[in-house]
Amino acid sequence: MISRKPFYAVVALLFLAGLALSLYRHFTFEVPWLPGEQRQVWSIEAKVEFEATGRPVKASLAIPGTQQGFTLLNEAAASPGYGLSFLERNGGTRAEWTIRRAAGPQELYYRVEMMADPHAEAPVPLQAPVIAPHTNQEPYATAIRQVLNRALERSADGFSLTRELIRELDSQQQNAELLAQYQDKPRLLVEMLNRAGIAARVVKGLELEDGRRRQSLIDLLQVFDDDRVEIIDPETGHPGQRDNLLLWERHSSPVLDLVGGVNSRVTFSMIRQQLPVNVALEQKFEDSNLLNFSIHSLPLEEQALFKGILLIPIGVLVVVLMRILVGLKTSGTFMPVLIAMAFIQTSLATGLIGFLLIVSMGLVIRSWLSHLNLLLVARISAVIIMVIGIISLFSVLAFKLGLTEGLKITFFPMIILSWTIERMSLLWEEEGAKEVLTQGGGSLLVAVLAYLAMNNDLIRHLTFNFLGLQLVVMAAVLLLGNYTGYRLLELRRFQPLARED
């Protein structure tokens, strides 16, 4: 007796490899297990307006990058006549427009698509700014000391200190008013934090809300304490980065640097789109194609083709299950899979009606053909032409009656249908209508089951997105090929044997 060990090892290997590939895709590329998941993608447009003074113009706009909570999908800038470049400057990216000569009102546009993405992280970790020494003049120095001391007493770390400072400025009216003349609140807070040895800076954020126009950036505090960083709203003291808050500028640089223009203004408008997760992810991982070995890297047309092809193993698995575990008889081993694929194109009800119509009409005409005493090849050919005739007839009829659904009947594999008709009609002559019904019914039942499996959203999603599952299906088929137990229908067939004694 041959050892079965290598066989099980291969099955286990296939299974584990398939599982590992799928897990890898899930965790590295964030492909969700369930279908229908959508990602929010924000389309944000920054509009720079200014009056050009007739001299060379250089406008440099801070632009956002991938950051915690958001992944940059793509960006574009438009402005006729201007030269454009994207450059890095002290950690942040900027879009820089230049033109030799411009006069009058100017409009520059920058558009970015940001995907809300819980897994996103900034590509380079944030660097805390250096703490600058500050010397203050009276009376501000005293006011600052008073506020800071009160807050220091009631705080434990940089973040609680920030919150306490904001609260003190709210409650110590006099000092607050005085200090407001000295500096605006965010920068004042940074200065006070620096005095307490806490690194902090002012960053610019954009509150995202669907369909908003002419929005401007808001000031936010970025406070560093040890390794931790927190974004704190200088007005309310609320910590945390909300999921609709995009950090536009994160390196304390000016949002807009303009040479050769006056009266500048930057405004933002935004819309929210829901993108299916795979489209969004495809854009996200566009550059890492080598690693991201998936169907998604193919052109769209081939993808659509593959979507169908990848489902065939599922249909085949259903056939294997039905034959090995249940023991259903089908006419033509994998004919049900082909019928099921036709059902996918036509929808189930249309497909079933169409199939039954074609086959039953075919059987009637075929019974007439059998009197003609033709050779088999000629007869099958005649049946094929006849099937095409029936299909055309039904299509035209359906169209005239306004049943556009009926047109889908052309999706049926005609050669397969012709063979089915031929086999069925022989079966009828040889073994009677009953056998035709059992085998035809069995095939149709398996076809419908295969259709249900292949048309299931979850299964479509999984097979298309997790190629590794093909290996798992393979392992399952191999295992089933090794199943020596009883088939479900055998339990009925041999039931008379169990009855006696």
Binding site: T484, Y486, L497
Partner: protein
């Protein structure tokens, strides 16, 4: 549990306790293991089976002729002229498909066992279909065999309706392990294939006497057409028949084999065909499972045993009528 307690199904446990073999086990553990693929053509092609049988001195029905080309079809009438009755079958057919038995013919036409008349045109068309591969596996082109009619032994009178009864013996590693007589009925149209409605009668390996009978997997006591009490059936010449079956092992090289034997009035037991994938209905007809017997032989060292020794062993151990 509700599902299993329905009277139409039984539990897998009950079947495995009785040693009933299922289709999956047959395919994997027996056919897959004991029947080398390269030997299949010997049994899947009835012409080749005949050839090796003749070479080994096993009696087979006379071959009137073969038709392998479309243009030869016209000669059919001429070919069978001298023979009182004949049988047309596809060389690569199975399960009784494409077999037409003609019991007599005259100028008016050809008569089937049921009395139905066929014209020469019907028969020629039938032969054309066989040549085109209608009945062969995968639709491959085939050859039509024209065989002399078997005149079945008088002792089966009343047991079979309009057809030749045949005896199926499962031969495992050369041991006849289980046997069944297949009696044609009105439903099976002169052929003795069970799923076409023939009656299967389990035959005791020890004595050659009937054990019980089934039709369409359900127990029956009397032949549905002739009304004869089936339990009285006794196969004559049982020892010869078993030896003939057992010798098919050496002849074909197949470890798990179904032999179809017929008893001719004049020529005694002869081999009709061999089967590399014999069906499982024989268990229902015998009211017993194959597995215990197969396992017994698997455990046995049978390398050196002769045909006669194997038959003796089987008659001793697989007999239930003691």
């Amino acid at each position: 549990m509700g599902f299993w307690s329905r009277p139409k199904f039984t539990r897998p446990r009950v079947l495995s306790d009785k040693g009933i073999m299922g289709m999956n086990r047959r395919n994997i553990d027996y056919i897959g293991r004991y029947n080398p693929r390269r030997l299949y053509p010997l049994v899947d092609d009835k012409l080749q089976t005949k050839r090796i049988a003749l070479a080994c001195g096993v009696t087979v029905p006379d071959l009137i002729g073969t038709i392998s080309q479309q243009h030869q079809v016209r000669h059919l009438a001429e070919m069978v002229q001298e023979w009182p009755g004949f049988c047309i079958k596809p060389a690569k057919g199975s399960g009784g498909k494409g077999i037409t038995v003609i019991v007599r013919h005259d100028r008016t036409g050809y008569t089937k066992p049921s009395g139905a008349q066929e014209t020469i045109d019907d028969l020629e068309r039938h032969v054309s279909n066989i040549l085109a591969g209608l009945y062969s596996l995968g639709g491959k082109p085939d050859v039509a065999l024209i065989e002399a009619l078997i005149n079945f032994d008088d002792s089966f009178e009343g047991y079979s309706f309009e057809g030749v009864p045949d005896t199926r013996v499962i031969v495992f590693k050369g041991f006849p392990v289980m046997a069944m007589m297949r009696l044609s009925t009105d439903a099976s149209d002169g052929k003795a294939n069970l799923h076409q409605g023939a009656v299967g009668v389990g035959i005791d390996i020890g004595s050659g006497r009937a054990i019980r009978a089934v039709q369409f997997d359900q127990p029956v006591d009397h032949h549905p057409d002739t009304g004869r009490q089936l339990s009285e059936l006794q196969v004559p010449d049982w020892e010869t028949l078993l030896q003939l079956s057992a010798s098919c092992y050496e002849m074909s090289g197949l470890g798990y084999l179904g032999t179809d034997m017929v008893l001719d009035k004049l020529r005694g037991p002869m081999l009709l065909e061999l089967n590399a994938r014999p069906g499982l209905a024989i268990q229902t007809a015998n009211g017993a499972g194959l597995l215990p017997r197969l396992r017994r032989i698997e455990a046995l060292d049978s390398q050196r045993m002769s045909v006669a020794q194997r038959v003796d062993y089987a008659r001793e151990h697989f007999s239930i009528a003691s």
